[in-house]
Amino acid sequence: MIALVAVAGCGSDDEPAAEATPSLVVSAAASLTDALTACSTQFDGAEVRLSFGGSDELAAQIRQGVKPDVYAAANTRLPQELADEGLLGDPVEFATNELVIAIPGDEREIERVQDLAEPGLNLVMGADTVPVGAYTLDVLGRLPSGTREKILANVRSKEPDVRGVVGKLTQGAADAGFVYVTDLTGDLTGIELPPDLQPTVAYGAGVVDGAGEPDLAQAYVDGLTDGPCADALREDGFGPPPAG
C-alpha cells in the first residue's frame, strides 16, 4: 500500500525550496528554436523552459488549458486571437522574417517561384494551419491561377511545422520547399521572393493569462525587443519589429 501511495504521489510537485529559481515556460514557434535556445540561458530571475512547435499547435494547447507563461508565434494573428479570447495579454510584435524558397545543395535548377511549376518536382510546404504554410498559400495566391495550380500539384507533403520542411529538404527527399530565411542552414540554398510576392511575416508574443510568474513572463516578452534575445534574433537573421 505504501508503494501505491508513493506512485499516486509522484504527480504532485515537491515543496519548492525558499530560494529556488522559479521556472518560466515559453511556448514558441518552431522557427524561433535556435535564437531562443541561445539567449534564454541568459535570462535573469528564472530558469527558462522552452517548448517549440507549430504556432497553431501551441495556440491549440493554450485553448485546451495547457498554460505556458509566454506564447511567441510566427504570426500576429494567433496571438491576437488568443488575446481577443482573453487567454493572452496584449501581444507585441517583436521580430519579422522573410519567406524564401529553399533548395538542397546549391544546384540552381530553380531560380524563381515559377520554376516550381515544373511537372514532377517534389515540393514540400507547411500545413495550411501553421503560419509557414499559410504564408506559402499567401504567396501562391498572388500568382496566376494556372501557375498556382501546377505548383500546388507538386506539393508532396504538408508538414506540421517548419522544421519538418527543413528536414525533408536536408534529407534530399524534396527538391524545394518554402521556409523562413532564418531556417537556412549550410545544406540549403535560399532563393529570395520578389518584393511583390513577399508576405509580411511578423512575430507576436504575449504573456499567457494565468501565468504562474506574470512579472517574469512580461520581462521575458520585453526582452524579445530589447536585450540578449533581441540580439540573438538579429544574429539569426530576424528583422527588427516595425517601428511604432
Binding site: A127, R156, S157, G164
Partner: protein, 266 residues
Amino acid sequence: MRWFPAALAAALGLALCFLTLPVLAIFLDSPPGDLVASLGEEGALDALWLSLETSAAALAIIVVVGTPAAYLLASRRFRGRTLAITLLELPLVLPPAVAGIALLAAVGPSGILGGTLEDAGLQLTFETAGVVVALTFVASPYYVRQAQSAFAAIDPRWLEASRTLGVSEARTFLRVAIPAASSGLLTGGALALGRALGEFGATLMFAGSLAGVTQTAPLAIYERFASDFDAALALSAVLVAVSAAILLSAKLVGGWDALGDAARRG
C-alpha cells in the same frame, strides 16, 4: 492480514482508471451527434480509409514473412538465435522518431539503399508505399513475438507425431503448427494491426503528410488538433472504436479457440 489482496485490487483499480479515463474522455467531451457530423468533414473519411488500407497491406506483409520466420525461431536452436530475436524485437522499443530517421537513412532518397531503389524506379518517401514500409517496420515485432511464443507453446509430440507419420515438414508447418498456434497468431495479428493503425511519428518523418496519399488518420488528427479540435476528437473516437473492435474480436476468436481446445482435450 488481508492487506495483500486489497493492494492488488487497488493497483488494478488505479491502472484501470488511469488507462481508461483519457479514452472515455474522447467520447464524453463532445456529443455523439457532433462526432458523427464532423466525420462528414472533408478528408476525414479519406484519412481513415487510407489508414485501414495501409495497415492491412502492412499486416499482410508481416504475416506472410513473419509466420515462417517466427516458426523457425520457435522450433530450432541455432547460433545467433538470441541475437536474431533481439534484432527483430528492437523496433518495439525504438521511439517512432528514431524509426523515421532510421528508415530515411536506410531507404530514404539519400539513404544507403536510396540510390538502388531510385534506379529500380521505386520512390517511398511521399508515397503511400512509404507509409506501408513505416507501418511494417514498427508493427512487425508485435506479430513476430506473439507468433514465436504461440509456436513454442505447441506440444512437441504433435509435431513429432506428424513427422513420424511421414508428413513433410512444410505440410506439418501448414497443417499442424499453424492451426495449433492460430489463436496466438490472431492475437499477434491484432496487436500488429492496432499498432499500425496508431503509427504516427515514423510515417510523418519518412513518408510525409499529404491528404489522400500519406496522411493517415493519426496524422489527420494531429493536423486537425490545431485547427479544429472537435474534428480531431471525432476522428480519434473512430480510431478508438476500430482499434477496440480489432482487439476485442481477436480476444473473442482466441477465447473460442481456447474453449475448443479444452473440449477436444476433455
